[in-house]
Symmetry: C2
Subunit: 261 residues, 2 copies
Amino acid sequence: MGKQNVHDKMDQPENSHIKRVIAVISGKGGVGKSSIATLLASELRRRRYQVGLLDADITGPSIPKLMGVSGRPPTVGAQVVPAQSASGVRVISINLLLDNEEDPIIWRGPLLAGAVKQFWAEVLWGDTDYLVVDLPPGTGDVPLTVLQSLPLDGAVIVTMPQDLSVLVVKKAVTMVKMLNVPILGLVENLAWAECPECGHRMEPFGPSKVHEAAEAMGIDVLGSFPISPQLTALGDAGKIEYFRSDALSKMVDLITEKLPV
Amino acid sequence: MGKQNVHDKMDQPENSHIKRVIAVISGKGGVGKSSIATLLASELRRRRYQVGLLDADITGPSIPKLMGVSGRPPTVGAQVVPAQSASGVRVISINLLLDNEEDPIIWRGPLLAGAVKQFWAEVLWGDTDYLVVDLPPGTGDVPLTVLQSLPLDGAVIVTMPQDLSVLVVKKAVTMVKMLNVPILGLVENLAWAECPECGHRMEPFGPSKVHEAAEAMGIDVLGSFPISPQLTALGDAGKIEYFRSDALSKMVDLITEKLPV
């Protein structure tokens, strides 16, 4: 591309060495971006990597709930120690730092952006093979700051089978390309659901559009994920990391091939 | 509550008289907030009210696509004339003002907030019975600005049947209450889907939680809406305003009872 990013990337956090940083992005909310981020982190962990999960969705943080972590993280010197999920994924989220997790975060843009930078620089990530960053949806302040300031190795784009989502995801892809972050590929979530009564595979949000959308944008397909009541139940129980599927395994194969450690 | 909002509300736009302003809010993206906003506006229009629809979801605007409007709106003096949907809903959205609707809006918070204020003050809304405002998800800059600066008569809160969404919606409810905007009630979207093969009513995101959530937050239930392939198809075709259902009619009954014009 020949483009240069004029913004300074942040250095490695103190006492830490993070080998690969992967952002999970969607143009539109509610496509299951946070689920895909937690599944990616959990599958990487299952493969014995050291994995961190940075919840940059400051205004709608969902990672702690999905991963079953809670309680205020301790500090070591000036750094916060991430919470650990049952399988050992290191998690940091604004929800862990609030006294009441139902409190809204009514922060103005610059404060939001500052919080994400702190989640990078002032957290004791230690030796981490993969840091997965869950971005807020859209192309606003916080995704922009994350894309500009974190040394990202790649971005996973999440969408769902609606024209609308595809339209909006193109905006996110354009933003990521403008900021010179490599796009690892497109994930289609909520692509179908299996009727528990008759086994019929229905497409409640319409037919899959991932291959045509990826081709139009010149990016790879990383996989298609169904609406899964089992996944919803595991997420609601804080045990999403126990979810396994062939599609998930395949997605992580493709990502680790592109970004080996 | 005895609370006073210290922020100045904006005056009526020039040459316009807007009787009722309703915000549609969700704590989390992807619960179908924009669908509910367009359905509310369309059903009000079907009842012969003069209706405006302000797309305040600047970073993920979806209203023009759903309502089938496009093209740059003309100006009269210093004011922009809203686009009109087939049934006559007046629509304004950043997507109508972009040269290429796939361009991302990489705007910093204050610019975003300024755009929403312009969509109120510099648009020729004319005589409008109900102005429906589609907010971006979350509790960040833009929802905050809209709640603070527009003279809102009430807020509709949209959620879906996931613990996570219910958790995050509580943040939005807390924010709305803090800013002293009356809450009209809670809508549960994506509550169930009907198998097209056997008619089984499945709950892909888990069992409904709207009544217990509404009770816990001390607010009313405005209705439960299914995942509807028909609604998705109409939305993708820009014809969402033709969707009708008993649940929609009931929701609008409840809202117009609370906010008569």
